[in-house]
């Protein structure tokens, strides 16, 4: 339990490591069902198309279904990353989809309005401007929630609703289409044989993982999420922390928005990032972080995000009719969430203890109590 990354890892307790095997620990971990779901989805795909797992090199770039999943999943991973920290503080951010739309629209409108859309300087400037804009939007959310004490779901609902309007104003109601080679790289380009979006998402994920672990941020976020009042009395600057997570969430969403608009070289104020807040919340919940706040798992979120992305891919690959795609997606999510539910887990634990001998109570363990 020494990192926020693996809060549910039963291995961390000395008792469990003595009495239980790795399997035991894995079964108790909340990550097991999302991981099983991910593997099951991948296996389904392999059965359907045997070369699903194959990755080939073409023109020095990696290609394959797995790479596609990673690349297309990158925006969800980013949004879910920010969402994890927000949810850990007992909050929720519904405005991420709107921020996705705004950032893409803002960047493309700057690039499109410039003399030379292919200039690296213009693109970097547009990206920076988008991120700063997102920072302001996130700070707005943070201000409403941390300073004015508005409930997160209401506060972010404001931007969720208004945000697409803002994006619409920026694009003047049109779908902005801009061709810019440097901008295209973010969502569609390659670095070191890998899609750039995968590298960007991985880098940000690593940055957050390191930042929360090497500073006290992870612990303080959890503390605020578990018991805000007690944290305040212990001198934790809850406001600063809550402000930070919403600002960060908006920046994550903005990067996702840049990726999406770059990939399709267009900004669509209406459909860019539509429902991505739901996918992100689902990814966080699938990953075992409770909506009640507190202990969170970045690894869990990562797995959750890929479950959702793989699901989308699978729906196409096994040829499910588009009309029932959402229903199918819902069924899988319901299954995983039910398997994760405390009641189900307790049920499994009972089943296991009925089959095998229960945890032996060796007398030497008394030493722990003393």
């Amino acid at each position: 339990m020494n990192t926020p990354q693996d809060p549910k890892n039963a291995l961390a307790s000395p008792l469990a490591s003595r009495t239980g095997s790795l399997v035991h620990a894995a079964v108790r971990s909340r990550l097991v069902w999302p991981a099983v779901a991910l593997i099951a989805l991948l296996v389904t795909n392999v059965v359907k198309s045997p070369n699903f797992l194959s990755i080939r090199i073409q023109d020095g770039h990696l290609f394959g279904s797995l790479i596609d999943i990673l690349r297309n999943g990158a925006p969800i991973v980013l949004v879910a990353l920010g969402m994890t920290l927000v949810i850990a503080t007992r909050g929720i951010d519904l405005s991420v989809g709107a921020v996705v739309a705004i950032s893409g629209a803002f960047a493309l409108s700057i690039i499109g309005g410039s003399d030379n859309p292919n200039s690296m300087g213009v693109v970097l400037g547009a990206v920076a401007a988008s991120l700063v804009f997102a920072l302001v939007l996130g700070a707005w959310n943070g201000l409403l929630i941390a300073v004015f004490g508005i409930q997160p779901i209401i506060a972010t609902l404001i931007l969720m609703t208004a945000g697409r309007g803002i994006a619409m104003l920026i694009t003047e109601g049109q779908i902005l289409t801009v061709s810019s080679a440097p901008y295209k790289v973010i969502g569609g380009g390659y670095w070191f044989a890998l899609p750039a979006s995968i590298i960007i998402a991985a880098a940000l994920f690593a940055l957050v993982a390191i930042l929360t672990r090497k500073t006290a941020l992870g612990m303080l976020i959890e503390s605020v999420g578990i018991n805000p009042e007690a944290s305040r009395l212990a001198g934790v600057s809850s406001r600063v922390i809550i402000f930070m997570v919403y600002t960060f969430s908006a920046v994550c969403a903005a990067i996702a928005g840049l990726m999406i608009s770059s990939n399709i070289t267009a900004a669509d104020a209406n459909s860019a990032g539509l429902w991505i807040e739901m996918d992100a919340i689902l990814a966080v919940v699938l990953g075992g972080t409770s909506l009640a706040g507190g202990r969170y798992s970045l690894t869990g979120t990562l797995i959750g995000a890929f479950v959702i992305q793989t699901l989308t891919t699978t729906v196409y690959s096994i040829g499910i009719a588009p009309e029932i795609t959402l229903v199918f997606k819902a069924l899988v999510v319901i299954a995983v969430v039910l398997l994760q539910a405390p009641r189900t887990r307790a049920g499994f634990a009972r089943l296991r203890s009925r089959k095998g001998p229960s945890v032996p109570s060796a007398p030497r363990e008394k030493a722990i109590v003393r």
């Binding site: 008792l15 006290a216 578990i226 009395l233 212990a234 001198g235 934790v236």
Partner: protein
């Protein structure tokens, strides 16, 4: 009564949590029409045993028989159906619902698929009447004092015609009259043949009401005794398992300290400090190394004063000086920066972070002070946790155990460690020993007197006047949000303070 058939028979009960062996092969039995008291220190396993009986925790080994039949329960609702009702230590009721709704929650009388409100109020009123509790069943629970809420919790437990009634620390927030009232109810229930499990840290009360005692220590059974066959001193000895000399030693030691109160360098001084609806303007001062006891009833303003001194609530009037310099403490954080720490009486809501580890909880205030970016190195955290765990005797001695798995007294020690870790100049302890047992109480009291000797100023708030008198150099008495007395503690008696609390100095 030994010839009678026990209604509850628990044999060889063992329960483990990650990192904690909470119960180890404990036997326990209860007889109908008998009050049985479960005794033990913090972490002895009292609450765990109760939760095993009520099905909250599954048992790892052992068996539970209820009236000779194996008891298979998987939760409180189940055990209630089986005839076991519980009132827990912390009142677990819903303050935003009415008294009647709380009493009958989950068993509401129904009509036409909805709730039969009239019958509900009548039934609730009948039960309240049985308890001689004169309150409106339709009033909000939250509008009543903790003591009344406690009695409502008991009313709730009584409604199901329980064969076994478990009262876990029912008296910790009741005053003398209310305790007498409760005991009258207990005696009546006893006559009806109900088996009552009574857990309390007040030995007087245990000796008054209990027929039989079971003593636990560190999750193991020490023994079962008839109350009239065991002397108090023997009982305490069995509970803490160490020499009682510690307690007497403490007594003489603090008395000495009181006698030689050091020169009074005023550390903190407040003039005309007040807050509307909370406390009337008052003067307060505390010297370096001084222990000031705050005495008064619940709601007298003692906690309110503590919250203002520690920056949690802002005063409307008055001035606060720390070492002669005017300071404005607008937040708890600012007070902590000035090394003023406040340990709340409400450790569940305002104290522990239950899903974090003991180590995290101990370093929290220190870490918050340093800011999020400058993390306390892991090695330093381990050292801090280890040193406080051994210094305060926190059990289990596992820094990585989740605080939620610790007993109340040990959680209190973790909180003390959190405040001590910031090396406070002024430590305000609000009911630090409430709901914890003799041994831990003595440890905490000894700690307080040692800290004061080292120069720390301590404000000590407790409902137990003996405790306040034993520890304090000076006593401030509060009544009805006013300061009514400020006395040097030389030969002050409990009776004197009682009189002050009851009537005030000027009347």
């Amino acid at each position: 009564m030994d010839s009678a058939v026990p209604i509850v028979e628990m044999t060889g009960i063992s329960i483990s949590f990650p990192g904690v062996k909470a119960l180890d092969g404990v036997d326990f039995r209860m007889f109908p029409g008998e009050v049985h008291s479960l005794m033990g220190e913090n972490g002895a396993g009292k609450s765990t045993l109760i939760k095993a009986l009520t099905g909250v925790y599954p048992i790892d080994a052992g068996s539970i028989l209820l009236a000779g039949q194996p008891l298979l329960v998987t939760g409180p609702a189940d055990s209630q159906r089986a005839g076991i009702s519980t009132v827990y230590q912390e009142v677990n009721l819903l303050t935003n619902l009415s008294v009647a709704e709380n009493i009958l929650l989950g068993r509401e009388p129904r009509r036409f698929g909805g709730i039969h409100w009239k019958e509900m109020r009548e039934r609730a009123a009948a039960i309240l009447h049985r308890l001689h509790l004169d309150i409106d069943p339709g009033s909000l629970l939250g509008s009543h004092s903790l003591a009344v809420q406690q009695l409502v919790a008991i009313a709730r437990a009584l409604d199901v015609n329980a064969k076994v009634l478990i009262l876990d620390e029912p008296t910790s927030s009741l005053d003398v009259d209310e305790v007498a009232e409760l005991f009258r109810v207990i005696t009546a229930l006893k006559r009806e043949g109900v088996a009552i499990l009574f857990v309390s840290h007040f030995l007087d009360q245990v000796y008054e009401i209990a027929d039989r005692l079971t003593v636990l220590r560190n999750g193991s059974l020490v023994g079962e005794y008839r109350t009239k066959e065991i002397l108090r001193i023997e009982l305490v000895h069995k509970m803490i398992g160490k020499d009682i000399a510690v307690l007497t030693d403490l007594d003489t030691k603090t008395r000495n300290a009181v006698a030689e109160t050091t020169t009074t360098i005023p550390y903190l001084a407040a003039v005309g400090l007040g807050r509307k609806g909370s406390i009337d303007p008052l003067d307060f001062a505390i010297a370096e190394g001084e222990v000031v006891g705050l005495a008064g009833l619940l709601g007298s303003g003692r906690t309110e004063l503590a919250r203002i001194l520690s920056g949690i609530d802002k005063p409307d009037t008055g001035e606060l000086k720390i070492e002669g310099r005017t300071q404005r403490l607008r937040t708890a954080r600012m007070a902590l920066k000035r090394r003023i720490a406040y340990s709340s009486e409400d450790r569940k809501r305002e104290g522990i972070i239950e899903d974090l580890t003991v180590r995290d909880n101990i370093v929290l205030a220190l870490q918050a002070d340093r800011g999020w970016f400058r993390r306390i190195p892991r090695r330093r955290q381990d050292e801090l946790a280890a040193s406080y765990i051994s210094a305060l005797g926190i059990r289990p001695a596992n820094p990585e155990a989740l605080v939620r798995n610790l007993s109340g007294g040990n959680q209190q020690k973790v909180l003390l460690a959190r405040w001590l870790a910031i090396a406070p100049r002024l430590l305000i302890l609000d009911e630090p020993t409430r709901g914890i047992d003799v041994g831990a109480k003595a440890e905490i009291q000894r700690l307080v007197s040692n800290l004061a000797e080292e120069g720390m100023s301590v404000v000590y708030i407790s409902a137990e006047l003996e405790e306040v008198l034993r520890l304090s150099h000076r006593i401030v008495v509060m009544r009805d949000r006013k300061k009514v007395a400020d006395l040097e503690n030389d030969d002050v008696t409990v009776g004197q303070v009682m009189t002050l609390i009851a009537s005030g100095a000027d009347e």
